[in-house]
Every structure is written in structure tokens, then in C-alpha cells.
């Protein structure tokens, strides 16, 4: 077996989601290659070559891949299925966009967002917002798989010494063109890989009030997230959304503030190690899954918590 993992990166650094996908590849077993498609992405290729247990890094360095569109990436990936039994990508918006296109061009199914590997052709995945686990077996010759990052550890990013091989670009059909992007800049850790996440919901009442959570997050080295209700209300941008169709997170500590706990929100965070809920409604469903709940006015509790955390802790 030979597995190709599609690397997610920004031409400068490899995204951690890639390392989770490599861990899934290791669980499947076999030779692992990594595909880096970008422009001026040499540093990413070098980082990929250092991942422990990687056999080969394929690099397609071309202007077409500076901000690649799915149409062009799929063209590059499809021929590589000839030499690989599995094509894996992180189940991020990047992987979710391109991999089904690859699968359809190969006339095979995709196994989306796997949470476990049973055998090289059998996988576990969550359905119905994480309220059921399906075990599915692929009968296709090539397995196209996207990987839920929170279900797999980070592969070791050092100790490897893979060969880096340049492959040629596959050209473009000119179907789609990248126009631009608005990427949020933040000094805080990334939501999907943060050790602590502080999330706010409709109960925050305004975007301005998220400053309370930001202050708390900074004391904890945490990322700030939100429920769909808070994003829909315009309090915070879309990339804050934690849930079934937003980001899936599983930090050591998840603090849900003013979040009632709709099924689709729980789907995005219920694998967190410790969950704290702060809500004025003691019947809110979030309390049923929270390890520690505080019932009360978040506008009193959050500042008090912020103050308490500012004091040195006694471990």
C-alpha cells in the first residue's frame, strides 16, 4: 500500500492539520508520500520531509498553485492515484473542497471526515452531527479519505529524512480563478489546534462584549470561538464558528459562555477533554455535557473568572 497525503500550507508553513492526516495514514499503514502544491513552497517541502516515517515528498511549485483552486489541484492529484492506494487530506475547508472533486474524477467514493481507521478499507466516521458513528467499508480500488484532525494525534514533525522530488504542474482549464481573500490575523492560537478554547454564544449580546472573552482567552493562552448563533447575529466572523458545519475542536479545556448547546454546536466541541459551561439558564442543554457548570449572569461571572485567573495559581 502507498498513501499520498495532500499537505495543507500557506507556502511558508505546513498546517498542523496535515500532521493529523499523516497520523491517520500511519494508522492505515504502508508507504507515506506527501504532496506539496504551492508557489515558492520550498520551506513547506522541507518541513514535510522531516515528518517521521515519510517516504517521499512530491513538490509541484508553480504560479498556478500560489492560491490553488480545486479545479486545478484536482487535475494535479488525479494522475497520482495510479501509484497510490489511498489519497488523504485533512477535513478542513481546503481538503473538503478539493477531495470530492478528485474522487468523482476517479469514479470512486469519498470517505469524509474519518474519526478512526479499522482496516485499510474500513473506517469510522461520525454522522448526524456526531450523534451516531458509522463504520463503512470502501469497495473502490482507490480510497479517497478526509481526516478529522481531532480524532488523530499529531504525527512527529522531526526525525524524518524523506526524498524531495519535483513533479511538473498539471496546467489549468481556466474554469476558476482566485480573486482574493480576507484572512483574519490573530495573535492568539488557531482555533482548531488551541489547547484552550473560550467560546461565546448569543448570550454575549454583541460583538463588543466578546472583548470579555478575549481578555479571558489571553490569560489562558486560548483561542476564541463562537456558536453559530453568535456568528449569524454578526457578533464575530464566520471563521470563529464551532459546530457540525463549522470547525471541529477538541481542546484540553473548552469554556462555553452564553451558549445554550444546540445539537449542531455540541457536534463541534463535545470531544473536548474538559468542558465548562457558563449560562444563566440552568436548563440549557450545554450543562448536560459540561464537566463544570456555573449558572448565572455571564457579565458577572466572566469578569470574576478573569480576575481570579490573574492571581497566581497554586498548582
Amino acid at each position: 500500500m502507498s498513501i499520498l497525503v495532500l499537505a495543507e500550507h500557506d507556502n511558508a508553513t505546513l498546517k498542523p492539520a496535515t500532521l493529523h492526516a499523516v497520523a491517520a495514514a500511519q494508522a492505515i499503514g504502508g508507504e507515506i508520500d506527501i504532496l506539496v502544491a504551492g508557489q515558492g513552497c520550498g520551506a513547506v517541502a522541507q518541513a514535510a520531509a522531516k515528518i517521521a516515517g515519510v517516504n517521499k515528498v512530491l513538490v509541484a511549485d508553480d504560479a498556478a498553485y500560489a492560491h490553488p483552486v480545486a479545479e486545478d489541484l484536482a487535475k494535479l492529484i488525479v494522475p497520482l492515484a495510479k501509484s497510490h492506494s489511498h489519497l488523504l487530506a485533512p477535513a478542513t475547508t481546503f481538503g473538503k473542497n478539493v477531495m470530492p472533486r478528485v474522487a468523482a474524477l476517479l469514479d470512486v467514493a469519498q470517505i469524509s471526515d474519518i474519526s478512526g481507521v479499522v482496516s485499510p478499507d474500513t473506517f469510522r466516521r461520525l454522522i448526524y452531527a456526531g450523534n451516531a458513528i458509522a463504520t463503512v467499508q470502501s469497495i473502490d480500488p482507490v480510497k479517497i479519505v478526509t481526516v478529522r484532525a481531532t480524532s488523530f494525534p499529531l504525527a512527529k514533525d522531526s526525525g524524518g529524512n524523506a526524498a524531495v522530488e519535483t513533479i511538473s504542474a498539471a496546467g489549468t482549464d481556466g474554469l476558476a480563478r482566485y480573486v482574493g481573500s480576507e484572512i483574519a490575523k490573530s495573535e492568539r492560537p488557531e482555533l482548531t489546534s488551541a489547547r484552550v478554547v473560550v467560546s461565546g454564544g448569543r448570550g454575549m449580546q454583541s460583538g463588543e462584549n466578546f472583548k470579555l472573552l478575549e481578555s479571558l482567552a489571553d490569560k489562558l493562552g486560548a483561542a476564541v470561538g463562537a456558536s453559530r448563533a453568535a456568528v449569524d447575529a454578526g457578533f464575530v466572523p464566520n471563521d470563529f464558528q464551532v459546530g457540525q458545519t463549522g470547525k471541529i475542536v477538541a481542546p484540553e479545556l473548552y469554556i462555553a459562555v452564553g451558549i445554550s448547546g444546540a445539537i449542531q454546536h455540541l457536534a463541534g466541541m463535545k470531544d473536548s477533554k474538559v468542558i465548562v459551561a457558563i449560562n444563566k439558564d440552568e436548563e440549557a442543554p450545554i450543562f448536560q455535557i459540561a464537566d463544570y457548570g456555573l449558572v448565572g449572569d455571564l457579565f458577572q461571572i466572566v469578569p470574576a473568572l478573569d480576575k481570579a485567573l490573574a492571581k497566581p495559581g497554586g498548582n
Binding site: 492560491h67 480545486a70 479545479e71 478542513t92 475547508t93 481546503f94 473538503k96 473542497n97 477531495m99 470530492p100 472533486r101 478528485v102 468523482a104 474524477l105 470512486v108 467514493a109 469519498q110 469524509s112 466516521r125 461520525l126 454522522i127 448526524y128 452531527a129 450523534n131 451516531a132 458509522a134 463504520t135 463503512v136 467499508q137 470502501s138 469497495i139 482549464d173 474554469l175 476558476a176 480563478r177 482566485y178 480573486v179 481573500s181 480576507e182 482548531t192 484552550v196 489562558l220 456568528v231 449569524d232 464566520n238 471563521d239 458545519t245 449542531q264 463535545k270 474538559v274 440552568e282 450543562f287 463544570y292 457548570g293 456555573l294 449558572v295 473568572l305 481570579a308 495559581g313 498548582n315
Partner: protein, 249 residues
Amino acid sequence: MKVLVAVKRVIDFNVKIRVKPDGTGVETANVKMSMNPFDEIAVEAAVRLKEAGKAAEIIAVSMGPQSCQETIRTSLAMGADRGIHVLSDAELQPLAVAKLLKAIVAKEQPQLVILGKQAIDDDCNQTGQMLAALLGWAQGTFASKLVLGEGSADVTREIDGGLETVALKLPAVVTTDLRLNEPRYASLPNIMKAKKKPIEQTTPEALGVDAGPRLKTLKIEEPQKRQGGRKLASVEELVDKLRNEARVI
């Protein structure tokens, strides 16, 4: 131009699903069914294009058992002009749905196909991308904004780091994210009018498509339940527990 929208009948998003004790699936008998929420956004997007004079006709397509006609009727009540129902009592996986949609696109020649980005039952997030691939069309997935131009469409996409805009050549496939629009409720007069709108019925066989599954579902089980529900009295107690019991801060 014609716009095709694909709509799926799913268990209503408010229903807490139950896994069947024999592990073969999820209980669907006597469970409230609705249109997949992302597909409602797709229908709304199409209706707004028609209201803006940019779309001439909207065709709503659904696939599955006879009851899918209810979902098509909902689309017609929201403003779609006619429906196509691909009747199948067998499970249809995303690749099969994409192939069936491709066959319908070949007949109807729409310039734009709009689908929800993901169905909330199987959570696959595949069909739109697969359809675009099979048609050799551009894809604008996870759209939060759609602007039609002459022979092209600008789609703003919700991505992990923020937003990205792509320019697509038409015809194209667009899949909807939550912030594209807020779907309307159908008014009673429109619900009545929808009863008179035509729904054509066809089958995978009639469309000449092999719709067989590629993934075998071996079992469905319930995830482990979290032991939650413990309430604390004060912020001090919470900080103490986090430091000394859970040891996460």
C-alpha cells in the same frame, strides 16, 4: 437562464436521533422530516436570482422515496417553478446523486446548479464538488456571497481562516454556506400555488445511471455519552477544580 437546485429530505435538525438497537441505522419511523437546511439556503439563493431578473426558471430536484415530493413541494412554495423527482428506495450515496444530477443537467441545460454544502444526516459535504467534477464545471463551495456577471460568477467562500473570493466561468456549481441568505417561510397562498406546479418523476434506470453504493455500511452505533451535569457554586470553586482536579490550567 435556468437554475437547478438540489434538495434533500432529512431528519429535522431539531430531532435528537436514535440509533437502532440492531446497529443497522437510525430510527426514521415517525420522525419529523424536513428539507436539509443548507438546501433551503440554495432554494432561497435561486429565488432571489429570479426576483432580481437574473434567472428565468428554477427547477428543484430531489432523490429518494416517494415522500421526497414533499421536499420538492416546499421548494415550489418558496418560489421554484417545477420539480423533478428521481424515485429510488435504495440508498443513494453522494457519487450516485452527482451522477443522477449530471444526467438531469444534460437534459435541462441550466447555467447554474446550487446545492447545500452538506446534508445534516450523513455530513458528507461531497455532492456539489462531485457534480462539478463530472460536468467539467467550475465549483464555488461554501458560498457566503454570490454575484452573477456576464458568463461568470464571483463567489465568496467561507474558509477556515476567513473568506476567499473566486471567479467562476459559467456554467458552474455553487454550494451554500450558512451566511449566504436567510431562507423565507413560504406564504399560505404560495403553498396553495405550489400544489399546482408540475413535478416530473423519473428513476435512475430511466436516466441510465448506475446508482449503486460504493461504501458498505457495516454498522451504526451510538457514541459514548459524556458524564456531565455537575454544577458548581462559585467562580472560586471553578478555578480550584480546573487547577487541582482537572489540572487543565
